[in-house]
Symmetry: C2
Subunit: 234 residues, 2 copies
């Protein structure tokens, strides 16, 4: 079988599989970075935190590689319809995964600033991160499998991350009121919590891209905006 541009479908599929493999590789690195950032936060592991910052360069390089291959694929094979949606989705998803890596990096940069870890929200943070990274994991699998249904279910789970974040936000405010001397520490934790909450938003964002790539239709009236950075109402 040949496409209209004369290339075999097999060659296109192999190119696309290579793109999907790059996305999976990026996803694995980003999930690991978020999990590690939480471990470094809880254990105050400064060396580990520095390594996360250093390792983020791999994600940056993989994003550039994904973009390069995607653009080359579009220019050489001029894919149409579902094929084109897949390639564009790969390019956009790699950019979002790279940003998830940035959140891990930014959390890690705050680790050395947090000397007081006897704050309740510090122990809650990894739990919130676990939900968010699982969303990232599942939505990237959904992309590889072209599974629109799983993408929808990932979006539904973002509410759990938001609820978690709101709870941590309120707890931190209370902690700040009770311990004015630790307001600086708590401010860093506010930003860390927000970063983790944003990982869930980005998983939602990817889910919308996966849904569109798989179905050709946009998800409308979804429960929660992916770019809704403001969820707390304190």
């Amino acid at each position: 079988m040949a496409t209209s541009s004369g290339h075999t479908i097999k060659a296109f599929d192999e190119d696309l599989d290579r793109l999907r493999a790059l996305i999976s590789e990026m996803g694995g690195l980003a999930e690991h970075a978020i999990r590690e950032s939480m471990r470094c936060l809880v254990q105050h592991d400064l060396d580990g935190a520095a390594k996360i910052v250093e390792d983020d360069k791999k994600l940056d390089a993989l994003e550039i590689e994904t973009e390069r291959r995607a653009v080359q694929l579009i220019a050489l094979r001029a894919p149409m319809a579902a094929d084109l949606r897949d390639v564009v989705a790969a390019m956009k998803i790699s950019s979002v995964v790279e940003r998830i890596g940035d959140y891990a990096k930014n959390i890690s940069k705050r680790v050395p600033l947090l000397v007081d870890r006897d704050i309740e929200p510090v122990s809650l943070m990894p739990e919130m991160a676990k939900i968010a990274t699982q969303m990232v994991h599942d939505v990237l699998n959904a992309f590889v499998e072209r599974d629109a249904e799983t993408a929808i279910r990932v979006i539904e789970r973002d509410k759990a991350v938001d609820d978690f974040y709101n709870s941590i936000f309120r707890t931190l405010l209370t902690y700040m009121m009770e311990n004015p001397n630790n307001i600086g520490q708590s401010a860093h934790l506010l930003f860390i919590a927000k970063n983790v909450e944003r990982v869930g938003d980005h998983a939602t964002n990817i889910a919308e891209m996966v849904y569109y790539a798989a179905t050709g239709e946009h998800i409308t009236d979804r429960p929660k905006g992916a770019d809704d950075m403001m969820v707390e109402q304190a």
Copy 2:
């Protein structure tokens, strides 16, 4: 003159000009949204803030339109080298400008929550935003003009935004310590300040894309990472 794919250079240039015009339009909307969000913050204009949130949909639509045209242009005309860099840059820049709009939207969503505006940092915020939006304005002009030198100068100005942000961050922490009852309000202002600081980062990010599109080389050893969300050291 004809390109290797048989299309006239004129047709490609017209397509590219249309892409540049879309980027300029998006830039104008994003700059306006940030400025307006500051005005609504200072004047506690709830209707104005709601309008910014509503108007953000235009930016979302323009980003989709830019991406559609860019992908079409790559598939139909298979541009090479500098032409391809320009098209890919347009697509990526539109995505960053859309995110800048999201920051305006998220600042606006916090406006109704800020009932107490007699806080010094509230009056400083628009000044910081002015520098950041001017960076966005100048870097998008640099893209239209393919002006790598201006792009570099934009990056240098991000330090002023960061310094401003650090000052506001410290002031807010002091304010929180002195007025524990206003910690909730101050927490929202912390996030607003961070959003404005991120606008400067995104302008820097665009500047790197403009530089690469214009020169084919990546800026190395730049003064400050565009994804460096953590700049304060409190």
